[in-house]
Symmetry: D2
Subunit: 257 residues, 4 copies
Amino acid sequence: MIRVTVWGENVHEQTNEAVKKIYPDGIHAVIAAGLNEDPELKASTATLQEPEHGLTEAVLDATDVLTWWGHCAHGDVEDAIVDRVQKRVLEGMGLIVLHSGHYSKIFKRMMGTTCSLCWREAGEKERLWVCNPAHPITQGIDGYFELPHTEMYGEPFGIPTPDEQIFISWFQGGEVFRSGATWKRGNGNIFYFRPGHETYPIYYDDNVKLVLKNGVKWAANASRWQDDCPNVPPEKAPEPITVQGEGLHRPGEKGFS
Amino acid sequence: MIRVTVWGENVHEQTNEAVKKIYPDGIHAVIAAGLNEDPELKASTATLQEPEHGLTEAVLDATDVLTWWGHCAHGDVEDAIVDRVQKRVLEGMGLIVLHSGHYSKIFKRMMGTTCSLCWREAGEKERLWVCNPAHPITQGIDGYFELPHTEMYGEPFGIPTPDEQIFISWFQGGEVFRSGATWKRGNGNIFYFRPGHETYPIYYDDNVKLVLKNGVKWAANASRWQDDCPNVPPEKAPEPITVQGEGLHRPGEKGFS
Amino acid sequence: MIRVTVWGENVHEQTNEAVKKIYPDGIHAVIAAGLNEDPELKASTATLQEPEHGLTEAVLDATDVLTWWGHCAHGDVEDAIVDRVQKRVLEGMGLIVLHSGHYSKIFKRMMGTTCSLCWREAGEKERLWVCNPAHPITQGIDGYFELPHTEMYGEPFGIPTPDEQIFISWFQGGEVFRSGATWKRGNGNIFYFRPGHETYPIYYDDNVKLVLKNGVKWAANASRWQDDCPNVPPEKAPEPITVQGEGLHRPGEKGFS
Amino acid sequence: MIRVTVWGENVHEQTNEAVKKIYPDGIHAVIAAGLNEDPELKASTATLQEPEHGLTEAVLDATDVLTWWGHCAHGDVEDAIVDRVQKRVLEGMGLIVLHSGHYSKIFKRMMGTTCSLCWREAGEKERLWVCNPAHPITQGIDGYFELPHTEMYGEPFGIPTPDEQIFISWFQGGEVFRSGATWKRGNGNIFYFRPGHETYPIYYDDNVKLVLKNGVKWAANASRWQDDCPNVPPEKAPEPITVQGEGLHRPGEKGFS
């Protein structure tokens, strides 16, 4: 059983009638419901408004993969929580960043780059092409899938070269975008997946739901890596160390202190 | 002429007699002097103690490559200056991070990872092997070079996979370390180079000086890239956008607003 | 159950008394026996001397991961078999290349580079450091492991930048080497692992056996990707294609042929 | 002055009237003429039909960057010449592979992968988006450029993850493609650039000519790396090697032979 925490900014859903109509319980609720269709996954939600944004140490202890959706309130996410999430990802928690989450503090933190792109809201058609047909994330998608009405994101996308290119989008208005890409940072698997604007019912789409299920399974990682710059004193060195004029750096040897 | 700003933390040199003796004018002064031996380079210095840590917008406007040495005062570097330097690197300013700078805010910011390693101070011998004999950074180094007395840094080094592995070190005490590596982030060339502990006269070493000169030339980049997530309105889209039931998204067309 | 085919050149074992004494049934037999200690793995062997070098289509159909050891007879491997193995790796069969296999046709084929290195036979000590402590391949290895007597391989190693650096070796004689590294090519996971000279009993070593078991599990991949440059005729294009002066490229449309 | 050898298969131009009309002196002649507009470049041509396909050792000695266009006669290129070109690229000669050259022996050799893609000839529009606006290869291109009538190439493209993504194409028929990408192999810079079908006058296009000029300048590399697996005998080891029961492996020492 893979434990997923679906994080939602949950602001548009409270303040915008059009969004509320599509996602009455919040975008996060729909994403979590989609994941919970899969018996191997167990998804819960957390939101900006909760104490510690719902991302307490206890919640993260019980999280194998975190998904992140945010848009208009990136700046309201406390740096201490971003530090905490980054630490967990580097230790091995999976991270899936969705749509406008490209500009979240946590994605920019993990990438080190601007994560900029160009964009347009015109309800146009998007077609996501599979660049890697045998990848775990694309299983069940045959060649491409389409979203009839979406916000456009276009190149240049300010990211480090991905480890693997998973999807590239074609837009009706003439742009292209690297819509699915993966990176490993520390021991954490990171997947950016573009679809998901708040004014379109993207997270009800069967293909989007499938990619998210696949993505979570791909990102989950049982191992953990905690590194903290340890000192290795001379007496613990694998080889004896002789320093000019001082003899051996080994306990009991001449010159060792 | 490549303009280099050599940044130094300049704390050990003020507080530790042993360091002061080796670097009476500061580590930064010796690094800059080494670079200035090369007629193609013009190096100046900046330190933690100066206003804005010596890294004003005007200084960065006149900087092609920034080198960074810090150790005990990483936490004293203001986040606003780190933001500023990161922005410049992503636009195209070169960045060379030295030795204990592996744990600086700017290096961790660019990498997104822990940048952890293991270490030991025992004055042992280090031998830096060239992994890439034809790389601009290794020109003039034949196979390897040695430092008779250094601090040890050992694996695991908590970095993203480098674009290119330049040097790997062998240590007398039995460890190894990825001592020279490069990454591109945004439009910026980044080079991490390990040698340089404050209690050894490393920056007077001819091979170290040569690698730094080479590294600066490699990192310098005349182009600049400024990206800020531009909106591309429908009337600027390369292709006309038809939305179901609304007609064309083009000025003057039916349904366009 | 992961099905492994352990390929052995099987020449030294027939012609060199010292090797025969260490590996009376061949290096491949000892590698396979080590893998078969793990109940999740089922390893068989194939050798140069068999018809089609033991790598018939039927054998490869039943192979999840292929391990490759060769040294003095790389040139005797038929190109047609190399083509066949490469095709399978790109489709998704895992490949683990061992020691002197760095100069095999199949490894050079997959890498595209020289795969050159420097070397010495002096029975010296090797210490393999883990660069990636949480990686599946390094599970059960704590920091490093040692081989008391090995052939030395040193940098520069003529490979493309690895996707992940797994091990780096320290040698008693003063060299270093990227002893464990991974690449993905097509849908195939590739792991190069250095230990294994024929005149030392390396493949009886518990740590080497553990790494090989881990490596096989990491490389195994149930999915397959077969690509053959398909034509997509205009009538199968996702969007209608209008060509200047010719109308739509769609069956039944004006100008479509 | 950068010396470019423009290699052309030169078959369609001899056998197909439509192609002959567009490229009466061959595609290679037009590519070379475009490059020669730049005073920093000096381009010559070589073709399949010449002895050694025009790629003698002497020609390659005088070549900084090789461009490669082929389509219907990939199989006629002798393996010995492919070996020779690969060796030169790994030593440091730049390589630019054009359009249908994706399926050439030399590109498949350098990549190690299938280099497969999907394709369609319908004279449709292509728009090449810049993913990396500050890259040397994209200087002078503002956001994107268009080709009114081209053959379509679509994903999945069977390549190793590029070092840098330079262009991605949008096609009128609905596909996308990674149309410009770079890799470093050994000491050689490799650039794949998609445009160029024989039945369209692509190589007369100003933007295509500009990208090729930029690409050649990017790929040129003055250094050379020749590696041939050298032996480092014990007496040349940087450190003395003691082998259990045998003493030092140093000339004159006990146990040294």
